[in-house]
């Protein structure tokens, strides 16, 4: 098992190299190239000022290097083993050094700081969405298997397929338009994660002199209602179908028949015997659906203007911010590769018949 994990981890390196290289060269070879947006303001300046600024950018970000050198420099920068970058822009001795993701052109801040602000928000969205998806899907899946072929089964089957087909952009626009708009019903905020005064709120809701105070927690929950609603509905179909299939298969298995034969009630057979055995496929796919959810949260974040990873990456792409785009690709790729690996490992742990050795 250990050698399998090691091999998979080593195989991630060429994959990540390939993905970042493709994204970097696409960006570098496109009209305007890397850092093109930095030069926009130069047009309005005096010639000598513009030249000084361009020289400064070139010195700081090495934009005048050939693009292959720029990519190699970035690789050297993020790898823990390589040439020490010195303050004057040259490279020092070869050896171990702290890896660094660089500085964003467009925001002027370290990329690590930007992503460490954005990543928790995206993870929070996903960690809230996944349990809701699982609860609804498992309950309806069990019921659909219990009433196999009956009305409930057919309705949830088609209904969830329909929900899966609803484009996130449409759901988002309709939710904002009808539930967060003064024209119809302004019950929810149209975007953002908290109100402007959220910093001064107490954490929990309370009664104060001015009447009811929402508090930070309730305010956050109120802002999250619509985005979370947008993220969850599409996930029901797949998981519910999976649960239904597993429960159906186990209901006709020998152990279920034996349990029924010795007089266990139908309810106990379903919930105690069959359900536990049907959980296996659900556990194993948990890690596998995360990459899809991350993509989904990119769209949700840009509709509801939530400052998460997806929005940061989209902004970076618009600004052609070399370090930010590459870091986003790297983090996104790492997350999805780890999820795929986790899914494979969970499969082996949950089912003793699967072995990778």
């Amino acid at each position: 098992m250990f050698s399998y994990i090691l091999r998979r981890l080593l195989l991630m390196l060429p994959t990540l190299l390939g993905v970042t290289a493709v994204v970097f060269f696409v960006m570098a070879l496109s009209p305007g190239g890397v850092g093109g947006s930095l030069l926009n303001e130069l047009g309005t300046m005096e010639a000598n000022q513009a030249k000084a600024l361009r020289d400064y950018y070139n010195k700081r970000y090495h934009l005048d290097d050939p693009i292959v050198f720029q990519y190699a420099r970035w690789l050297n920068q993020i790898s823990p083993l390589g040439f020490e970058p010195l303050d004057d822009g040259t490279l020092g001795a070869f050896g171990f050094k702290p890896p660094h993701l660089g500085y964003s052109f467009s925001k002027g801040r370290p990329v690590t700081a930007l992503y460490s602000e954005a990543l928790p928000i995206t993870l929070m969205l996903n960690l809230l969405a996944v349990p809701i998806i699982y609860t609804v899907a498992i309950c309806s899946g069990i019921l659909a298997a219990r009433y196999h072929g009956k009305l409930f089964d057919v309705v949830t089957g088609i209904g969830f397929l329909a929900l899966w087909s609803v484009p996130t952009i449409w759901a988002g626009v309709l939710l904002i338009g009808f539930l967060a708009n003064k024209q119809y019903f302004h019950g929810f905020p149209a975007g953002g994660l908290s109100s402007t005064m959220a910093d001064q709120m107490s954490f929990l809701p309370q009664w104060a002199d001015q009447g009811f105070q929402r508090g930070w927690l309730l305010d956050r929950a109120w802002h999250l209602c619509l985005p979370i609603a947008c993220m969850i509905y599409a996930g029901f179909a797949f998981l519910s179908k999976l649960t239904r299939g597993a429960v159906l298969e186990n209901l006709s298995a020998d152990f279920a028949r034996t349990a029924r034969a010795k007089g266990v009630s139908d309810r106990d057979v379903l919930l105690r015997h069959v359900f536990r055995n049907s959980l296996l496929p659900l556990i194993t796919v948990a890690a596998g659906i995360l990459p899809g959810l991350l993509v989904g949260s990119v769209i949700v974040e840009s509709i509801f203007s939530i400052p998460g990873m997806g929005k940061l990456t989209i902004d970076a792409i618009y600004a052609r911010d070399r370090e930010l785009v590459l870091a986003g690709t790297l983090i996104g790729g790492l997350l999805s590769l780890f999820c795929i690996l986790l899914a494979d490992l969970a499969y082996a742990v949950a089912d003793p018949r699967v072995s990778y050795d």
Partner: protein, 404 residues
């Protein structure tokens, strides 16, 4: 040698049995089992409606009269203004229908003939069809108002998708009415007309992107499954790399960095989306390669492409069909999402781009612009998913055993 190969290596999908009864191929059986399901029928019906709209879009919605009599002279401004792309679509669609009706022709030959028709018609149409550069939509409305038009026949929806109604400034942002059935956009364009023309982009992206993905995936997967061993090992690493690429992210960067181009979008969706087809084809071919008809074909010395595509593919293509149906839905969703984010085509109407115009900068919300284009995306995606689900049930041995 050829006669021997056709008798010995006769694969299970081919032709007629010895008593002359029509022998249905495996794919034929799967399709027959699929279309009896009500879900698949509804889905196919809607896809048919969308295809009809896409092919005949200029005749369904146009500001120009189909036929008009001015000063005793009949003319057809609509036909004169057809673009080369319109004519190519109008040639390709009947071509497809005629070729499906021609009896006794192999499926591959039909496809090749159809592609040939399209390839020949593209330069011909661009050479022969020269519509006027400048289109002034108000002309005929003004002529009609001046009473100079004696008699005219119009398309059912009397507005072109790019007709901004410059002669009627009051018609901007209007909710649905008898004149504009689904309302107008902020610049005065008719929503229904734009939706009908946008069906073209949705279908083109769906079909071409999925087509590219299928060609790459089936070829790589087929080679992997047939040769197994080292080819399989290397191929699976490539598959793993492509499976790990965040498709949406790559698409976003390509579309954002390069000039807006529908074809680039199609190619990227296709090039990143072939992994599923390769996996399924590989699994099927691994099963098939040991079977007698394949062994016989190898023993007869048939060339590799014949073994792969003539003998094995028709028996292993069913899971690819399922995947393709979901793939078209996914490609349509990708295009809609990119257009929604402002990265799609600028001038051509697209459902996603229309949807993004529903909320205005001043905080207003035009429900008709949000509801109808979104509904069109949803119904089209739902239709493909229904067909895919029905196909999946049709090739699943479990459900078939339960049913009969």
């Amino acid at each position: 040698m050829t006669s021997a190969s056709s008798t010995i290596a006769d694969p299970p999908h081919a032709g007629r049995t010895s008593d002359g009864r029509k022998h249905r191929s495996y794919v034929g059986q799967v399709i027959a089992r699929t279309v009896v399901r009500p879900g698949a029928r509804l889905g196919l019906l809607w896809i048919g409606v969308i295809v009809f709209c896409a092919v005949f879009a200029p005749f369904l919605a146009s500001s120009l009269p189909l036929a008009v009599k001015i000063d005793g002279q009949w003319s057809s401004p609509l036909l004169r203004h057809l673009t080369p792309a319109d004519v190519i679509v109008l040639v390709a669609a009947p071509g497809a229908i005629i070729l499906t009706l021609v009896p006794r022709l192999a499926l591959g030959n039909r496809l090749l003939l159809w592609l040939a028709v399209i390839v020949v018609s593209i330069p011909l149409c661009f050479w022969l069809v020269r519509p006027p550069r400048l289109v002034v939509y108000d002309d005929y409305r003004q002529l009609a108002a001046a009473g100079r038009i004696e008699s005219a026949y119009y398309a059912p929806i009397r507005f072109s998708p790019t007709d901004r109604l410059r002669d009627q400034p009051g018609m901007k942002n209007q909710p649905p009415s008898a004149v504009h059935l689904l309302g107008t956009e902020a610049d005065g364009a008719d929503v229904l007309s734009r939706m009908i023309h946008a069906a073209r982009i949705a279908l083109a992206v769906g079909f071409i992107a999925t087509g590219i993905a299928i060609v790459i995936g089936v070829t790589i997967g087929g080679l992997m499954g047939y040769f197994s061993g080292i080819v399989d090992l290397v191929g699976m690493r490539i598959v793993e790399i492509f499976a790990a690429i965040p498709t949406f992210f790559l698409l976003l960067s390509f579309v954002a960095f390069f000039p807006r181009n529908l074809y680039i979008m199609m190619v990227i969706i296709g090039v990143t989306g072939w992994v599923g087809y390769a996996r399924f084809t590989r699994a099927e071919f691994l099963k098939l390669r040991q079977q007698d008809f394949v062994q016989a074909a190898v023993a007869c010395g048939l060339p590799l492409r014949s073994i792969l595509f003539r003998q094995m593919l028709p028996n292993g293509v069913a899971p690819v069909l399922v995947e393709a149906s979901f793939g078209v839905a996914a490609a349509i969703l990708y295009e809609a999402t990119l257009s929604f984010l402002g990265l799609g085509l600028v001038d051509e109407p697209s459902w996603g781009q229309m949807l993004s115009a529903a909320t205005t900068a001043s905080g207003g919300f035009n429900w008709w612009i949000a509801l109808y284009p979104g509904l069109a995306i949803f119904l089209t995606v739902f239709a493909y998913n229904l067909v895919g689900e029905a196909l999946r049930d049709a090739i699943d041995p479990h459900t078939n055993r339960n049913n009969g």
